[in-house]
């Protein structure tokens, strides 16, 4: 939690920016973000989850020939 009241002469930034603590916070945040992005990439936005559309499937939808089965996903979440 950010502590709002700060001692005289010290800005919030200075109080919270001692180098070891800043380094630790930055590392934790960066690692957490990398883990989240990789997890999202694998489980949510990965190729297996991504709808696959090509010119043939677009033609099928627009021209009105019977739609091929959903060309999209290898697995269902």
């Amino acid at each position: 939690m950010i502590q709002i009241k700060v001692p005289v002469g010290q800005s919030i930034e200075k109080r919270h920016m001692s180098k070891p603590k800043l380094l630790r916070d930055v590392v934790v945040v960066v690692v957490a973000k990398i883990v989240l992005v990789i997890a999202a990439g694998v489980f949510v936005f990965g190729p297996a989850e991504r709808p696959r559309i090509d010119s043939a499937s677009v033609a099928s939808r627009l021209i009105g020939q019977p739609d091929s089965p959903p060309p999209s996903r290898n697995r269902t979440p």
Binding site: I4, K5, E49, P51, S55, V58, L62, P71
Partner: protein
């Protein structure tokens, strides 16, 4: 599970909700960024600490809002690929470019300098920090520019053509996309609406402080800045909204007719319906109260040009459906015989109407065999939902004029140094806080509901753009979005209220 709505409606609902939610944060970012630049400029010019305190206080609220705006904006871009895959394939070559430029140019600029804004107070010279603040404002506005160029192309798809070999729209004239009159009009209108939002935000919270007798110095100065900036912005938003309406009148006649609930074409100049009850089922407007000439002057800027009514536009749409069927047949031929020059020529001649024939896909799968009744049904499907447009537009415009009155009064009281003498005005100003958001959201409803049934106006019907997902999948993500965004909203409001309650003391020594 029995789901009432199909995947198209669910995908539309999800995108609509996430877009409206995202736009809770965007206008405040746009407006506050410029206000911060103004406040800090005064600080650098005068050297008075109160202006630095103001910049830092409002900057903290800006930061909370900015973080939310970024988080909610990114998910929308993912939806293009996940929920609107056919759309992304069909128009991605055109639509993707401004989105990519927005990320690389505007957002990187914004994101880089916002860090310097918060952490650079004790590390940069006054002038350098001021430059950083203005660069954040510039980045925010550039970001809006590129997004609205993308959206403007959805409303008025210029500078591109359909390639039957790749089944995609491809850019033919990037300058036409960039200087699309619809996009430019939307940009200035949207940005000025953002400035109004920022100004109302500062005005309302400052009014709250004055009513409580707290942070008086900061509140009076903030109100003075907000009043003058807000008055200029509120006047601009109405004038530029008129420009936006005029460009829509030129390029999206059905949207204008639906906003007016105007079924029949009137002799020029058309009258404007101030009040009425649209009856879409019976194709009429009940209890109309009309102002002569007004619509003609607004939509055509002339007294001799007609504004076509819905019935006339539906008849035109019917013609375009028939023409589109020729293009559709030619495309079908080309898919099996790419060397067929006759088919290519027919497609080229009727290609502008291909989208209208695609509307038939909702009515029957074998559109080549469409009967006249099908053509009529497709033509009538080009009429968007009239009532939401009619009322959204009128409430938005009414609020626009209210903001002019509010800021005029605020400007007068600030100039006469009488802000504290009129508590009733302060209460009205404080209670006005949600109004610019209501106006902005209604503006987007007018823009996007008015574009229906198209995702790209006249080119691609919305129902063909959606991914081949199951309704259950979309419902799951929709529920996830609602849950997650509700949690984010609670956090955002908590942080905002906490910061406002503390006021500028958040930075002051004990």
């Amino acid at each position: 599970m029995n789901i009432d709505m199909d995947v198209v409606q669910l995908s539309r609902l999800q995108f609509g909700l996430t877009a409206l939610y995202h736009f809770l944060f965007v206008p405040l970012t746009l407006g506050l960024a410029v206000l911060l630049g103004i406040m800090e400029s005064v600080y650098v010019m005068t050297g008075r600490e109160i202006w630095k305190q103001m910049t830092r206080f409002w900057g903290l609220l800006f930061g909370i809002n900015f973080a939310m705006g970024v988080a909610t904006g990114i998910t929308m871009e993912f939806q293009f690929g996940m929920n609107w895959a056919y759309y992304s394939h069909y128009v991605g070559d055109v639509f993707g470019a401004p989105l990519a430029i927005e990320g690389l140019m505007a957002f990187f600029l914004e994101a880089t300098f916002i860090g310097l804004f918060f952490f650079g107070w004790d590390r940069l010279s006054k002038q350098a920090h001021l430059a950083v603040t203005w660069l954040v404002a510039l980045g925010s506005n550039l970001s809006a520019l590129w997004i609205l160029i993308a959206n403007g192309w959805m409303q008025n798809p210029v500078g591109a053509r359909f390639n039957p070999d790749t089944m995609r729209m491809e850019v033919t004239d990037f300058m036409a996309v960039l200087f699309n009159p619809v996009a430019q009009a939307k940009f200035v209108h949207t940005v000025s609406a953002g400035y109004v939002t920022g100004a109302v935000f500062v005005l309302s919270i400052s009014a709250f402080y004055l009513l409580r007798g707290r942070h008086v110095e900061l509140a009076i100065r903030s109100m003075t800045v907000a009043a003058s900036f807000g008055l200029a912005s509120a006047l601009s938003v109405v004038v530029l909204g008129d420009e936006s309406g005029y460009t829509a009148g030129e390029n999206q006649k059905m949207k204008i007719a639906a906003i007016e609930s105007m079924w029949e074409t009137e002799p020029a100049p058309a009258s404007f319906t101030i009040f009425g009850l649209p009856n879409q089922a019976l194709h009429r407007t009940d209890y109309e109260l009309r102002v002569p000439w007004m619509l003609g002057l607004i939509a055509t800027r002339s007294i001799d040009k007609k504004v076509p009514g819905i019935n006339e536009l539906v008849a035109e749409a019917g013609q375009r459906v028939r023409s589109g069927l020729v293009a559709h047949a030619a495309l079908e031929t080309l898919r099996t015989d790419r060397a067929n020059t006759a088919a290519r020529t027919r497609l080229s001649e009727h290609g502008a109407d291909l989208g209208y024939a695609l509307l038939l896909r909702k009515i029957r799968p074998d559109i080549a065999n469409a009967a006249e009744a099908d053509v009529q049904a497709a033509a009538w499907s080009t009429v968007p939902a009239v009532s939401p447009l009619f009322w959204s537009f009128r409430i938005m415009v009414g609020l626009g004029f209210f903001f002019i009155a509010l800021f005029t009064l605020a400007f007068y009281l600030a100039s006469a140094r009488k802000l504290r003498a009129y508590p009733l005005f302060l209460k009205i100003a404080m209670c006005s806080l949600p109004l610019p958001w209501i106006a902005a959201e209604l503006g987007w409803i007018v823009a996007e509901v008015g574009r229906q049934p198209w995702v790209i106006d006249g080119v691609l019907p919305t129902f063909l753009a959606v991914s081949s997902l199951s309704a259950g999948n979309v419902l799951t993500t929709l529920i996830g979005f609602i849950g997650f965004y509700s949690a984010l909203l609670v956090v955002d409001i908590y942080l905002m209220i906490k910061t406002v309650r503390l006021g500028p003391d958040v930075f002051a020594p004990e």
